[in-house]
Symmetry: C2
Subunit: 374 residues, 2 copies
């Protein structure tokens, strides 16, 4: 049993059997890197699976080994926090396709070389299939809850739809059951930015001095804008100019330096991302997201996806999230209603756009706390 | 006098004097390429200046010499059309900084080599300053109207603010008086995509076999998404898959080809753009837009910008335009009200997002017709 009172470094599960994939292939030698927090009780019924978003990882509530920053949901997961590790055993796995220890395109294939683009295209359900095997290995048959924002919400919904006996509560935040055209479009731009970078080299850059950092940075910049609301960009940056290197107040340079603070901020976001994320992983994970369509998976009858679920659902959207707008959550709620699944739905008011699920939104804390204690 | 009953090819004005620029430089040997339609009347009071948007040009109502497509506002400009060339003399200049004949970064500097990044950073007001000299050369002291959408609207507002004696009517469609942080952010991504392309070569690619087509295509793809509404992307593409090359119905490839129609469409938009647009021009024109702030130009008192105007204003926004949302038009209207300028304002309902000003929106035709005949 994975008792884990203290768990700073990731644990790794090596799968004994090949992992079957939706694309028809079987992936050998799969490793799943994960962190746990809290203690699994004797009844083994207090586990919560936290699924991370596109560029997240298993460091949900521990310092990130590369950036040194606190966990990405440190404010939500911990002793006395909404996802209370004094009561719950929290498991957060890195998705397959990722680059923080779980098997992905940067992992070694059986020939001792990185998979690169030989890595099979995976789906959200493939990621969840790996999570399920991880749960089995930990002796967990049912989850108190599965929780995720954005792509994490998709994993939560996929678990509920495909392994309906596992989760007793499903919490999908700022997410969707079906990737919309606009999201597919933005993800395609990100992939094209990476693949347009000559340093991408068809994905075979692992032995080179540099990878497609420029392309990955551009992809991140474009994505980052979509995570924020227009309002938050205006209040945080507006048209404020960057101070000059000599400390003097900013002025238009009449050049192409980052004159505006928002420009400088975006460049920084793009560059710093390349230090912690693998460009090929970005390709594979966004591809999995663009393929995500629970409706199609269930023969065009989304309600059928949830026909066998025993879980309660909680669906949360944010009023300033234009990437996964409330309308998409509402659609999901209608489907859950049609499937007679108990579901609560709330659109929270928060200024931060899609990123609201990661940021200081006290109302979100209250909803999560309440739902986990129902 | 530029009588121009038939005017398929562009005319070009060569400025005798250097053009003073907001950045403090003076630009020598400026050429302004423009098209005209209709005939200037004897009173010289029936001229309408149509200002083009970011990647537009002077081919507002004539076949484009590179793409062979009809003019970008063919539906609006012509005999019997809302901007009726049977009655009005329509002038559409290519902005300086552009690449369709007006002086820009691809033009030859005095040393016989292309300016490239030696071209000075220009502003929207600099573009308009060139337009004003063009009007003078045509013997036009007052305009019946100045009209533009998006960046064209900015030029219209800049003309009204800085040369208040010239336009009698000002029509700004899907535009703003001050570029917002989100727009600056998207433009920065586009520029970074271009400058990240090694083929950009610091801007000195004109003598090379290839320019930064990949970077420019990515910039265009990202921008193109912002021109469309989520609704139009969903109704036009949704999650529909691309037919296969062999004509069979589309299926997920479990690869990185353009599986979805929206992906294929975006790739096409990106690639085809590179055949007609210069990457350095894209840098300079988006830079000019990010600098656009009529408020700052007038000491933080936007109403002062319009204190001396004699013009009537018409401000139009579209309900699905999230790039230049109605709120920005409404702000402008409040300022015009504060300046006691006669202004009518309408938010039109149209499904096409920001691009609505270019597309089939009969209500727009009616508003334009009505305003020009007031």
């Amino acid at each position: 049993m994975a008792s884990a009172a203290s768990n700073a470094a990731s644990e790794v599960l090596e799968l004994a059997d090949p992992l079957p994939l939706d694309g028809g292939q079987r992936l050998d030698g799969v490793r799943i890197a994960y962190n746990t927090y809290g203690t699994l009780n004797d009844a083994r019924d207090n586990a919560i699976l936290v699924a991370h978003a596109t560029t997240g990882d298993q460091y949900v509530a521990s310092q990130h080994p590369i950036t040194g920053k606190p966990g990405w949901w440190d404010r939500m997961v911990g002793p006395g926090k909404p996802i209370d590790t004094d009561r719950f055993f929290v498991i957060c796995p890195n998705v397959i396709g990722g680059c923080m220890g779980s098997t992905g395109p940067s992992s070694m294939a059986s020939d001792g070389k990185p998979y690169a683009m030989r890595f099979p295209v995976i789906t959200i359900r493939d990621m969840v299939r790996a999570h399920v095997i991880l749960l089995e290995s930990l002796g967990i048959e049912t989850l108190h809850a599965v929780i995720g924002g954005s792509m994490g919400g998709m994993q939560a919904l996929s678990l509920a739809a495909n392994w309906p006996h596992i989760p007793r509560r499903v919490l999908a935040i700022a997410s969707t059951a079906t990737m919309a055209a606009q999201n597919i479009a933005f993800q395609e731009v990100g992939r094209q930015a990476i693949m347009a970078d000559p340093a991408w080299a068809g994905g075979n850059y692992y032995d080179n001095d540099t990878g497609p950092d420029s392309g990955l940075a551009v992809a991140r910049m474009a994505a980052h804008i979509t995570y924020l609301s227009e309002e938050s960009l205006t209040s945080k940056f507006g048209r404020r100019l960057q101070d000059r290197p000599d400390g003097k107040p900013g002025a238009k340079s009449f050049g192409f330096d980052a004159d505006f603070q928002i420009e400088s901020y975006l460049r920084h976001q793009g560059l710093s991302f390349t230090t912690r994320f693998d460009a090929n992983s970005y390709l594979y994970i966004t591809r999995a997201m663009s393929y995500f369509d629970l409706d199609e998976e269930h023969g065009g009858k989304l309600a059928d996806a949830f026909a066998r679920t025993q879980a309660r659902f909680c669906v949360i959207s944010f009023d300033t999230d234009w990437l996964y707008p409330t309308e998409q959550s509402r659609k999901l709620v209608h489907v859950l209603n049609a499937a007679n699944a108990p579901v609560s739905f709330v659109e929270l008011s928060a200024p931060f756009g899609h990123d609201s699920f990661l940021l200081d939104v006290p109302a979100l804390d209250r909803v999560v706390t309440g739902f986990l204690n129902q």
